[in-house]
Each structure stands twice: as structure tokens, then as C-alpha cells.
């Protein structure tokens, strides 16, 4: 099966210049992008397997000497292509703030405590059906300098590869019902409401583990659809 990557799929993405998010103004191109046909350079992509992922890389609560503070959660779902097929054996990386909304990063100096037992970095590989699973801590909201009283809704950053270099995706997973949604220019840079909601995870009671952790489901849909409409099985 060969996948194709029509440009039409890109309309779900935010415009690169979204002035409500001020940093886009000097960091987005002013000249139109130049269209070109995909060649093998675009239609292939890096393949990384188990050698890249260590045991516990997908459990962010086991990386320190003790348990991190905060609300333990399970985040799981499928990496899919646009036809809904699982994307197998692909690397999924994530990074996030701790329960207090603080990142392990020299630039993040906002007055919230670091957690010595939480780095907020994880990675895993999707299985043969595209399924992935992380155990982590629910990140806190945090302030940022974009405008007066600006706060980011709680989110987890995801980085996913997929079948080709043009299926590469970096996104953010949000939590359902966050009161900060209407005020966040990054979330709202995605202008289509249905597309925006694809970045919001679903609370998953069925897979919530009693007496242990709430669960959220987040499916990640990457570019790529069947190039041959009459696929025979």
C-alpha cells in the first residue's frame, strides 16, 4: 500500500502567522511557500525502533528516586493515518510541565516548585496497531508573557514521526473542559472548531484504573491516506 499526502490535509493546521500569538509575527515567512511535488526525499522518513526506547521511558512516574507529586494519569490512544489505520512502530515523544505548571528548563523561572522526581520527558513506540500508552502526572496551567494575565491551559506536548518526513507532527494534547480554552491564542490558532477539538483528549472512564489513576484517550491523526482508492484485502 502506498500513501499519498495531499496538501488539502494541511488546512486543519493553524495559519503560521497568528498575530494573537505574538511570537508568530517575526517567526513566520512573509513570502508564499513554493509548491513542489513530493519525491522520495519527502515520501520516506526516519524509522526508529525499540533500541531508541528504554524501559520506563513511557512511565514518567518511575524516572526519579521517588514518586512525583500531583495527579497520576494514564494517557493512551492510537496513532492513525487519515484513513483510520494504525501507524505501527512509530516513535512518540512527549514533554510537559509538572503538576505545578513548571518545566525542567533553564528558561522557565516562574515561581512554582520543581519536582525532583519528575522530568516531564517521555517516549514510547506505538505497537503493531498504532497503540501507545504513557503514565504521567497531570500538568498544571502556567503563566506566560504573551499578554496581560496570559495562562496556558494544561497541555502535554507530543512529537510523532509517522510514515514519512511529511507526516511529521508536533502538537499539544489538552484536557477536556479546561476553563482557559477561550483565552489561549495557541489553542485558538486552530480556527476550525472540529479540528481544534481533535487536540482535546477524552476522559476515559473505561480504562481508568480503580484506586490508582484517571485515564485520558488521545488519538493522533497523521497525514497520509491511501493513494489507491480500490484497496483489495
Amino acid at each position: 500500500m502506498t500513501l499519498s499526502y495531499p496538501l488539502q490535509s494541511l488546512t486543519a493546521h493553524p495559519p503560521r502567522l497568528s498575530p494573537g500569538y505574538k511570537s508568530t509575527v517575526k517567526r513566520s515567512p512573509t513570502k508564499p511557500l513554493i509548491p513542489m511535488r513530493h519525491t522520495l526525499s519527502e515520501l520516506t522518513g526516519p524509522v526508529y525502533g525499540h533500541e531508541t526506547v528504554r524501559e520506563n521511558d513511557n512511565d514518567l512516574t518511575l524516572q526519579g528516586k521517588g514518586e512525583p507529586l500531583g495527579e497520576r494519569i494514564i494517557v493512551h490512544g492510537h496513532v492513525l493515518d487519515e484513513d483510520g489505520r494504525g501507524v505501527p512502530n512509530t516513535l512518540v515523544e512527549l514533554w510537559q510541565a509538572n503538576a505545578c505548571g513548571r518545566y525542567v528548563h533553564v528558561v522557565d523561572q516562574h515561581p512554582a516548585p520543581l519536582d525532583p522526581n519528575f522530568t516531564g520527558a517521555g517516549r514510547t513506540q506505538s505497537d503493531s496497531e498504532g497503540y501507545y500508552r504513557f503514565v504521567t502526572i497531570k500538568p498544571g496551567a502556567y503563566p506566560w508573557g504573551n499578554h496581560h494575565n496570559a495562562w496556558r491551559p494544561a497541555h502535554i506536548h507530543f512529537s510523532v514521526f509517522g510514515h514519512s518526513f511529511v507526516s511529521r507532527l508536533v502538537t499539544q494534547m489538552y484536557f477536556p473542559g479546561d476553563p482557559l480554552f477561550p483565552f489561549d491564542p495557541i489553542f485558538n490558532s486552530v480556527t476550525d472548531e472540529k479540528a481544534r477539538n481533535r487536540m482535546v483528549s477524552d476522559f476515559d472512564l473505561e480504562n481508568t484504573q480503580p484506586d490508582w489513576a484517571l485515564c485520558y484517550r488521545f488519538n493522533i491523526v497523521l497525514r497520509g491516506r491511501n493513494a489507491t482508492p480500490m484497496e483489495t484485502k
Binding site: H13, R16, V25, R27, I34, V47, G86, W95, K194
Partner: protein, 203 residues
């Protein structure tokens, strides 16, 4: 654990990597996390001409972008991709062809790799040696794609992608050989805006 999936309504939208990706994606020894990737693509069995490709990334005010992540993807010296979708024989079995680099306090990046071989376009026309480059940063809601070609390559004049680019902008895609003591060093700056705004591709 698997569930039947209904057909999605569209792709998951992109969001910025933000300012805090370094500890998770480009730690480079600064944080307590092992990197999955580095900016050195060369492995023991990699054949080909070793090159360093380096430069700086600038925003629209000409300020260095110190929180930028660059990723390259390339063929090996024989023009083969380390991806099962490329069915041809792979002479460099451990060469992955993928590199990742975070920019430093001067907005500087560098990749140590080998000059890729010829990759043909869908019509069978040879493309000049090139790296595919993806640029991620705070303030970039969706990463940008561009290419890095190598100065001095005769094939640049007939490359089927370069010829799509207005002549006066092609230089923004061609790294120039800076100096050579042992390994060749090619230099190319990435400018998000301005007179020398880098050509980005709609792919």
C-alpha cells in the same frame, strides 16, 4: 489493547514546540534525559564524503533564534533512504539519515553527516544532493520545510526542485563551502524573514 477506529475527520492540528522542548528533545547532556537523536549522523559503516553543515537561524528582526529545533532527513551517499519504503539495497546499514539539533545561544546549528547521493524525482530525473530540513520553534505553530543543497554541485543548475525557485532566491537554499581542514564544512543561515528570507516549500 486496541479498538476499531472510525475514519478520522482530519489530521490532528499542529501546535508550536514552545520554548521548553530542549530537556525532552535536544537535551545534549544539559538535562537529565538521554537524547533519542543527535546532530551527528555518521556511523562506523557510513561511506561517503563527510561534511559538516552549519549556520545560524534568524527571526524577522535579525535576532538569532536561540530556541529553535532543526531536523534533517537525507539519503546515504548511494542515494538510498534508511526506510523500508525504499526497497533498494542499503549499503550503509546503520546510517539512519536523520538528525536533530537545537540551536545554541547564538542561534547556531551544526550537523555532522555525509554528502548524500543522487535521489531521483518521480519522473526519474536526478535531483542534486540535498538534505530535507524541518524547522521548529516557539512562535512557529506549524514547522517549515526547506532543503539544503551543496555549493559547487554542477547538478544544482538542473535540479527539478531548485528550478521551481526564482533565480534570485536560490542562494537561500545552497550551503557554501566555508573552509576545509580535513572534513568539508558547508555554511547556510536560515532567515525567517527579510531580504534573504529562506525559501520554504509547501509540501
Amino acid at each position: 489493547m486496541s479498538k476499531a477506529q472510525s475514519k478520522p475527520e482530519g489530521v490532528t492540528p499542529s501546535q508550536t514546540v514552545g520554548p521548553y522542548f530542549a530537556y525532552g528533545l535536544t537535551s545534549n547532556g544539559k538535562y537529565d534525559w538521554n537524547d533519542a537523536f543527535s546532530n551527528n549522523l555518521v556511523t562506523a559503516d557510513t561511506s561517503g564524503e563527510r561534511v559538516r553543515v552549519e549556520g545560524r537561524v534568524f527571526d524577522g528582526d535579525g535576532n538569532p533564534m536561540v530556541d529553535c529545533m532543526l531536523e534533517i532527513w537525507q539519503a546515504d551517499a548511494q542515494g538510498r533512504f534508511s526506510d523500508p519504503q525504499d526497497k533498494r539495497a542499503l549499503p550503509n546499514s546503520s546510517f539512519k539519515g536523520f538528525g536533530r539539533c537545537g540551536t545554541d545561544a547564538d542561534g547556531r546549528y551544526a550537523f555532522d553527516t555525509i554528502k548524500p547521493g543522487i535521489v531521483h524525482d518521480p519522473d526519474g530525473k536526478p535531483q542534486a544532493p540535498h538534505l530535507v530540513l524541518a524547522v521548529f520553534a516557539r512562535g512557529m505553530l506549524l514547522h517549515l520545510y526547506t532543503r539544503i543543497y551543496f555549493g559547487g554541485e554542477a547538478a544544482n543548475t538542473t535540479d527539478p526542485v531548485l528550478v521551481l525557485v526564482p533565480v534570485d532566491r536560490r542562494a537561500t537554499l545552497i550551503a557554501q563551502q566555508a573552509h576545509c581542514n580535513g572534513n568539508a564544512v558547508y555554511s547556510l543561515d536560515i532567515n525567517m524573514q527579510g531580504d534573504n528570507e529562506t525559501v520554504f516549500f509547501d509540501v
